[in-house]
Structure formats: structure tokens, C-alpha cells
Symmetry: C2
Subunit: 418 residues, 2 copies
């Protein structure tokens, strides 16, 4: 499959871009190659696509079902009650809705942790985006449950080959207060042997810190380090409660972090992500939306605006997370974390590409595209999405979107009634 | 002009809405009246339009020109340098761009403070929305300047009749550190005599607090109260530094506030708006975007998400500013502040109306329209805007929008080059 994008704005210059099987073969003012598909790039800007570093895709089904509640009641009375009733079919349609929503917002890569692993994997394959998918691993310190979960994860890892290249298997140990030391040690070893990423909630709440101190006499990070599970394959999400000694440990081990600002604010966590400490420790980090029960939108550009502005406010420094750096974190840094290679629109590279519609008021006067993307635009400015060399959206239309919305809506309403 | 909206979702029920000269005459399942204009409301929800409580419209021209800078350098090296060169024509096109952007985001009422008053008034009249427009009043404690400003404001007040019903004249004393006591006293009296709103930056920064204590030995609010300028006509914007005694004073005087969260975060103000104190003092408040140099988008729905989530986080209480209350604050409370009457879609009332496109992923499964509007949607979900009984946007198209974007873009780029 060849794609030729004509007359698109790239780094301030109008150019043509020719893509063959996902790789950019030519960037030149007038490309004369023959293409299967020609896209009119006039009044559009080309940028590398966005990465969603942390979500629970199928929780789109719970959007707006329970908001404005204290965390404990929200989980126990609402979310867990619905999750207990979830079928694989529900997760499949919820997952497809999430993929649709991410495509509409220029996101082609996401890092997921949820129930019914294979349903999400099918959704990702059918939507043709890139999913890093983990099964929620919770054993509640019960050896039998731990063994079951280990067996399941071995099975899913083997199964994941069927979903390549769309799906990459990852481990999803939920958190230090729901997973036993033994299970974590098993994941550590299996991850090292098979080069598998470990996706985990880390230092999200005061509750987690207190649990860790009481149970292990250590911070969550120090406890994990004592198990030697922290490595360049470890992706910790949230990180609100991290202290200096924690960021030093994470930095020393080459671990990665994902900042999830919208969810943290909505659930009123006790502290906010310590950007300065994380930057001083040179920990690579990107942004995640979290699931739709605590955000409630998978718009990574919106999350980036929250992240950048909140970093300025909480650091009392308006120069923190400037626009261009913020865009690079959500693209190149995230691509590094998920080992996708150089995520930039250059000849010989294979990033996913989004085209931005500049004929919108929020792009006037367009002094600085990165500023406009991070501070003025939202995901609705994305006109076209190209993932792995395939056009997933053009003119904001994703083929089959009405069926996905209908089926996911039915699944959600039936779930509540069941 | 008659408008008939067919089969639209209103409060969860599919209905027809018939509007004559801006007033809703009939809401019924099947309206058989003849209309000049019929709008297909299928898969859309009708809601009262949004109010932008604080902005500087023509600063759209500065969008993306200077971000990520400390406040003082940003103002002195960038913003004031451009503002010194602004012509009335620049402000006219910047103002039209702002109106276009607000219409695109479902905003039909805004509260403005800027230079070249009449240029903004013309822009509002030509765009047919509702502008509460003040001229920036700054005398820097210079008697001659104060007299000039007073003469200008008398003149603009008289002139404002020519722009009715689109434009309402208001006073715009910039802040207690830029306007003399004598000028404030004159505005107090003229405002009382002529029933004019006073739109002012209040308790925005630590600098303002220190200035007030040093100069007057009082907080900004207590100083203003000592002048007896606080009344039900007083609209204070920002309010980040307000303390308990201040909110008690404001509440006692019937004054109003506007919360401006995005700008406050971006400029990294020292403290955040004290929702709890303001609510305890029963001060009506709504939301403002601020100008595009410090936001950089006039999307009030986005501002509402920031406001609601930040209120939860800063109060350590996820039940703060729940979705429905947040929507009502941006509509009914704001309409009360600007004395627009009952801002609700009911027979006999005359609110402006927006239609929301529900066929978007972020409205699936649509358990709660207010939750979806505040936490999931942004302004791009607005399909149709009806203001004062006229259709300003339909299917997201605003007549003449391309010319506005082109002219405003040219004005901004020429301004930088001049």
C-alpha cells in the first residue's frame, strides 16, 4: 500500500510525503511517484501521532455512569459492581469504542490494562491500531489466585503472537497492595527472559503509600526495588506520591513513568506528579488519559494541556513543560518507552502520521504549531490518521463508526440493567 | 423569524421546539406550526448556550506568540509591545475571530475588557452575539489620565446605544494597582446612577495583594469595600488570593465572581480560586476563559472541565463542582450575573440554544448528558447555535468564517512585523 500526501505543511514548509508500507520513502516539494491513495494535504499540518501511555480501554462503557464520588464508594459501589458482570463481548465493543475515540483524537498507540485480555486484543486488531495490552493481575496475596493468574498470563503471552503486529503483550500487575511478592518475582523473571514490559499503577494514592510502609516498611518504589523488578522494562503509572529517594531509584534502574493528570484531579488524589524530581532523575515520561470512568475522554491533546498547565502551577514556574517539549514527550519519548523507534516524519522512518486541519479558529494566527496543538487545539482538529501505513481516518470519518457506537452503547446499557 | 427544531433531545425526551423572535413559544412532541427555518434535531441534544465570564477578545491575535514565560517578561517584552501597536482594525478582526471561535464552542455571551472599545462592539454586532464590553480603564494614578479615561468612558457609554441589543456597555477598571481611588469612585457613582456592571481583575496575584497592603493597608477586596464600590453590579475576575474575610465582604455586598482556571494555571499564579469559601459566602460565580494569550482557546466547556477537576483536587474532595452544577453555573448562574433572565429551555423563555451532536464516541453510552458535556466533550461537539432567535451556526458552519480567519491571521502577522 502506497500513500501520497500532497501539499501538506511539515515543519513550516509545504511538501509532499510518500509512504510505502508504513515507511516514509520520500519527502519533497513535488513527488511524482504513483500512489494507490492520494491525500490532499492543503491547509493541513503533518505531525507524528500521539501515544496514550495509560488507559483501561473498555471502561468507555462506564463513561458518565458514576462521577463526583469519593474514590472508595466509586470503586466499591459502582465500578466493581459493573466489572463483575462484564463479558468478553462487552469488553470487545467497549474496546472498539475506545480505539475509535483514540483514532478520532490522533492516538494510534495505547498502553492498556484490563479484564478479558483477548477481547481487547481482538478490538485492537479489528481497528488496526497499536495496543500494548496487559491483563489486570490481582491475586490479593492468595497463592492459589497467584498461580491461576500466572498460568493465565503464560497462556495470553503465547496467544499474543496471533495478534501481532497490532498487539504487544505486557504484564499488568495492578499495584503493590493487590499483588503478592511471589507473583511480582515471577513477572520480574518472565519479563527479563522474554523482554516483556511491566505496566503497573505506582505511587498513585496515600492509601498505597501507607499500605506499603505498614506491610513492607518501605515506599512502594523502594519495595519494588528490593524485589529487583525495576528495570528499563518497567512502566509505572501515576507517580503522584513519589519522593526524591523514589525518583532516584527509578532513574537509576532506567524505569519509565506515565503522568495521568486528568484522572488524578478528578479522583482528588493527595499530591500531584513531581515533574521537577522526575526530570532531575532523568526518568523518561509520557502522558496517559486513564480509563473513561475517571477522565472521561481519551483525548491525549487535552491531557497534555492539563499536564503542561498543572506542571506550571504546581511548580510555580510558567516555563515548565513548554509546548514543544510537551508534544515531544507525548510522541518521541512515549515511542522510546514503548520501543517504537524514532517517531518523527523523516525519510526512512516509520512513524504513524496525523494531519491537522488548520482551517479552524484555534489555529489562527498559527504563530507556533506546537503551542497551538498543546494549548489551543483538542483532538477534534485531527483530520486524517495513518497508522502502520494504513489510512484509518480521513476527513474525520472512520469506516464503521456508527456500528461501533451503537453496539458499545447497547453493551453499556445492557450491562447496567443485568 | 421563526425556527422549528424537530425531534431533538430535551431533558431526555425527544421533542419539537418552536422559537419566534428568540422566544420559545412551544415545546411539544409534534409541533405543527409553520416555520421560516426547520432544523433537524435527530441525534442531537438541546441545551442553553454557554457564557464566557471573562475574556479579552481581540487577544486571539496573540495566540501562540508568547507562551511558557514568566508573567513579568511575558507582559513587558511581548504583550505590551504588541498592544502598543494595535489599531482599531486589528481589534475588529481579532474580535470577530474571537466571536467566531466562541460560536464554534457554543458560547453566545461574553464579558470583555480591551482596548479600542468600538472595534470590539462592531465585531460583536457583525457576529450577532451578546457582548458585555468594557474599555480597559488604567490611569496609573495620574489625574490627567484619569480625567481622559472618564471622558472616554462617558462617550463610549453614550455610543453603546448604537450597538444595542448586541452590546452592553460595562466599566473595566483594570485592577487596584493601575486605577486611582478617584477614578474608582467616579465609576462607582456613574455605575449606580446608570445601572452599569463593573468588570475588574480582583485578587489575581500575590503582587496585587502586596501592592494593596503596602499602599492601602488592606486586602484588595477590603480596599474596594472602603470605597463602597462593591455591589450586585460588581463582577470580580480571578479571585485566586481571596481570603475568608474577603469572601464575607463580597457575599455581604451581593458582588459576583468569575473563576478563570486555565489562565491561572498557565501563568502559574500563587494560589487557586477558593471554591469552598466562595460557596460558603454564597457568592454567585461562573467561568471565564481569559484572553488567548494566556489560555489559548475560548472553549468554555474545556474551561469548565479544568474548573471542576481542579476544584476537586484543590479541595481534596471529588464531590466538589459536580457535572450538573458546573453546567448550571456556566449557564443559569452566569445569566443571572449578566441579568439575562431565566436561561433554560422552557416555553415563554428566551435563552440562546445550542444543539449538541450526540453521534460522537465521547457521547457513548450517554448515561448522563451533563457528565458527558463537562467531563467528556469539548466545544467541537456543538453542531448548531441559535442566539437571539437567529441561527448563527448550523452543522458547524458559520457563514463567512474563512474570511474572518484570513483577515485576522493577516492582522496578527502584520502586527508582529510592524
Amino acid at each position: 500500500m502506497n500513500i501520497l500526501i500532497k501539499n501538506v505543511l511539515l515543519d513550516g514548509v509545504v511538501t509532499d510525503i510518500f509512504i510505502e508500507n508504513g515507511t516514509i520513502l520520500e519527502i519533497s516539494p513535488v513527488c511524482t511517484r504513483r500512489a494507490d491513495k492520494i491525500i490532499d494535504g492543503r491547509n493541513k499540518a503533518a505531525l507524528p501521532s500521539l501515544v496514550n501511555g495509560h488507559t483501561h480501554a473498555a471502561m468507555t462503557l462506564f463513561r458518565g455512569f458514576a462521577d463526583d464520588m469519593p474514590l472508595k464508594a466509586w470503586l466499591e459501589e459502582k465500578i466493581w459492581v459493573l466489572e463483575a458482570k462484564l463479558t468478553a463481548d462487552d469488553v470487545y465493543w467497549g474496546g472498539r469504542l475506545a480505539c475509535l475515540e483514540m483514532i478520532k483524537n490522533g492516538v494510534t498507540v495505547f498502553n492498556d490494562m484490563y479484564w478479558h485480555w483477548e477481547a481487547t486484543a481482538r478490538a485492537v486488531r479489528d481497528m488496526k491500531i497499536r495496543g500494548f495490552i496487559s491483563a489486570v493481575f490481582i491475586d490479593m496475596f492468595d497463592n492459589n489466585k497467584g498461580r491461576e493468574q500466572i498460568a493465565l498470563n503464560r497462556e495470553l503471552y503465547a496467544l499474543s503472537k496471533d495478534y501481532a503486529p497490532y498487539v504487544t503483550f505486557t504484564f499488568g500487575p495492578h499495584a503493590i497492595y493487590t499483588v503478592s511478592r511471589e507473583s511480582l518475582e515471577w513477572m520480574r523473571d518472565f519479563s527479563a527472559e522474554n523482554d516483556i514490559l511491566i505496566h503497573m499503577h505506582l505511587a498513585e494514592t496515600e492509601y498505597e503509600s501507607v499500605f506499603s510502609q505498614t506491610t513492607y516498611g518501605l515506599t512502594p518504589t523502594a519495595f519494588l526495588d528490593s524485589l529487583e523488578i525495576l528495570s528499563e522494562r518497567y512502566v509505572g503509572c501515576h507517580g503522584c506520591m513519589l519522593e526524591k529517594k523514589d525518583t532516584e531509584i527509578l532513574g537509576g534502574r532506567g524505569a519509565k513513568l506515565v503522568h495521568v493528570p486528568v484522572s488524578n484531579l478528578k479522583l482528588a488524589v493527595e499530591k500531584i506528579f513531581p515533574h521537577r524530581l522526575v526530570q532531575e532523575a532523568r526518568i523518561p515520561y509520557c502522558f496517559g488519559t486513564d480509563g473513561c470512568a475517571s477522565n472521561n475522554h481519551l483525548d491525549v491533546l487535552e491531557t497534555m494541556k492539563f499536564a503542561s498547565l498543572l506542571a506550571k502551577f504546581c511548580s510555580s514556574d510558567p516555563t515548565m513543560l513548554p509546548a514543544r517539549q510537551t508534544y515531544l514527550m507525548a510522541t518521541q519519548t512515549a515511542a522510546d518507552i514503548f520501543r517504537l523507534g524514532k517517531w518523527s516524519i523523516e525519510e526512512g522512518l516509520s512513524p504513524d502520521i496525523i494531519l491537522i486541519d488548520l482551517m479552524r479558529p484555534e489555529f489562527v494566527p498559527n504563530f507556533d504549531l506546537y503551542s497551538d496543538m498543546v494549548y489551543a487545539a483538542n483532538g477534534s482538529a485531527v483530520d486524517t490518521v495513518i497508522c502502520r501505513g494504513e489510512v484509518l481516518m480521513e476527513g474525520r470519518v472512520v469506516p464503521g463508526e456508527e456500528e461501533i457506537m451503537t453496539r458499545a452503547g447497547e453493551a453499556a446499557h445492557n450491562l447496567v440493567k443485568r
